[in-house]
C-alpha cells in the first residue's frame, strides 16, 4: 500500500521525501479541519455535569 505510493512518487529520493511530507501535512490538515470535528460530533458527548 505505502510501498506502491513510494513507487508512484516521481523524482529522486529527496524529492519523494518532500512530496511525502507535503501529502502528510495535507492529510493532517484535512483531518483536523473536517474529519475530526465531524467524528467528534458523532461520538457520545463528554458529560461533566451532575444530573439524574
Amino acid at each position: 500500500m505505502y510501498g506502491a505510493l513510494w513507487r508512484i512518487l516521481p523524482g529522486p529520493v529527496w524529492l519523494r521525501i518532500i512530496l511525502l511530507l507535503v501529502l502528510i501535512v495535507a492529510a493532517v490538515y484535512a483531518l483536523f479541519t473536517w474529519v475530526f470535528p465531524w467524528v467528534d460530533a458523532q461520538l457520545n458527548p463528554i458529560n461533566v455535569t451532575v444530573e439524574e
Partner: protein, 272 residues
C-alpha cells in the same frame, strides 16, 4: 576461483540493479491488513491529540477572548456611566445586587475569572457563563461554562452552581484540582464584581445532584450563606466521577467601583 576487480564491481552493480529489475513485489493480504491497522492506530492517536490538545487550545483561546470582550464591554459601560466622579470605595457597596433577569438558554450573563486556572504568564482562564449546561453551552467556542438552571444567581443567598469541561473543548475547569483554600473565584456581571473564596472539594458520582441544593446535600434546609459550586468531571480525562469545588462569597462591589485589586491590571489589559 580468482576474483578480479572488474568482476567484483560488476557483481556489486548487479546487486544494486537487482531491485529495479526485479518484478513488482506481490501485494499480500496480511501486508495490506497490517498497514491498514497501523494507519488506524495513527489516526486514533491523531484524533486524541486533536481533541485533547489542538482543538482544546483553540477553543480555550476563543472562549477566553469572547469572555474578555464581554467583560470589557461592561467595564467600558461602567466607566462611561461614572464619568469623572471617582469610583466608590468597595466597602460601601452594601448587600450584593442579585440579577433577577430570566436568561434564555445559552445566553451569557456573567464572566468567570479564576487566577489559579491561568496558564502561568497568561490570563487565559476567563470564561463566559451562560444559562444551561447543554452541549450548546459547554462545547461552544464563545461560552464554555454553564449555569445550572434553577440554582441561584451570583451573590444570591444559596448556591450559584456552574459546570465546565475538565479536558477538551477549552477545558474551562482544567486546573480545578489545583485550587487552594482561599483562592479567589471572581464573577463579573453587568451589575459588578462578586468575589468568592474557594473552600473545599468533594468527589461524587455523576447522579449526586444534591451538591446543587441551596445548602449542598441538605435540600430541606433554608440557606443562609452565599456560595458558589463548580462541577467538572473526574479524574482528569475520565467521566466516571465528578469533582465539586465549593466557594463562599467574600465581597461584592458595583461595576462603578474599580475591579478587585488582584485582577485590576488584567481587566485594564482587556480594554486594549
Amino acid at each position: 576461483m580468482s576474483e578480479s576487480l572488474p568482476d567484483g564491481r560488476r557483481a556489486r552493480r548487479a546487486a544494486e540493479e537487482a531491485p529495479r529489475t526485479r518484478p513488482k513485489p506481490r501485494v499480500s493480504v496480511v501486508g495490506v491488513l497490517g498497514e491498514l491497522l497501523l494507519t488506524a492506530g495513527v489516526l486514533i492517536l491523531l484524533f486524541l491529540g486533536w481533541q485533547l490538545w489542538w482543538n482544546d487550545a483553540i477553543m480555550a483561546g476563543q472562549q477566553s477572548q469572547a469572555a474578555s470582550a464581554l467583560s470589557d464591554d461592561w467595564a467600558a459601560q461602567d466607566r462611561g456611566a461614572r464619568g469623572d466622579t471617582p469610583p466608590p470605595a468597595p466597602e460601601d457597596a452594601g448587600e450584593p445586587v442579585v440579577d433577577t433577569t430570566e436568561y434564555a438558554n445559552a445566553e451569557p450573563f456573567a464572566v468567570m475569572y479564576v487566577p489559579r486556572f491561568d496558564t502561568p504568564g497568561t490570563h487565559d482562564s476567563v470564561r463566559n457563563i451562560a444559562e444551561g449546561y447543554g452541549l450548546d453551552v459547554l462545547n461552544s467556542f464563545e461560552l464554555g461554562v454553564g449555569h445550572y438552571p434553577g440554582t441561584q444567581m451570583p451573590g444570591e443567598v444559596g448556591n450559584f452552581a456552574i459546570a465546565a469541561h475538565r479536558s477538551a473543548y477549552g477545558g474551562g475547569m482544567h486546573e480545578i484540582e489545583q485550587l487552594q483554600l482561599g483562592d479567589a473565584i471572581y464573577i463579573q456581571t453587568k451589575d459588578g464584581w462578586y468575589t468568592y473564596r474557594f473552600r473545599d472539594f468533594e468527589y461524587v458520582t455523576p447522579a449526586t445532584t444534591e451538591v446543587l441544593s441551596p445548602v449542598p446535600h441538605h435540600p430541606e434546609l433554608q440557606p443562609t450563606d452565599r456560595i458558589i459550586t463548580l462541577t467538572s468531571c473526574n479524574p482528569l480525562y475520565s467521566t466516571d466521577e465528578r469533582i465539586i469545588a465549593y466557594g463562599v462569597l467574600e465581597s461584592w462591589q458595583p461595576g462603578a467601583a474599580n475591579p478587585p485589586a488582584e485582577i485590576a491590571s488584567v481587566v485594564a489589559e482587556w480594554g486594549d
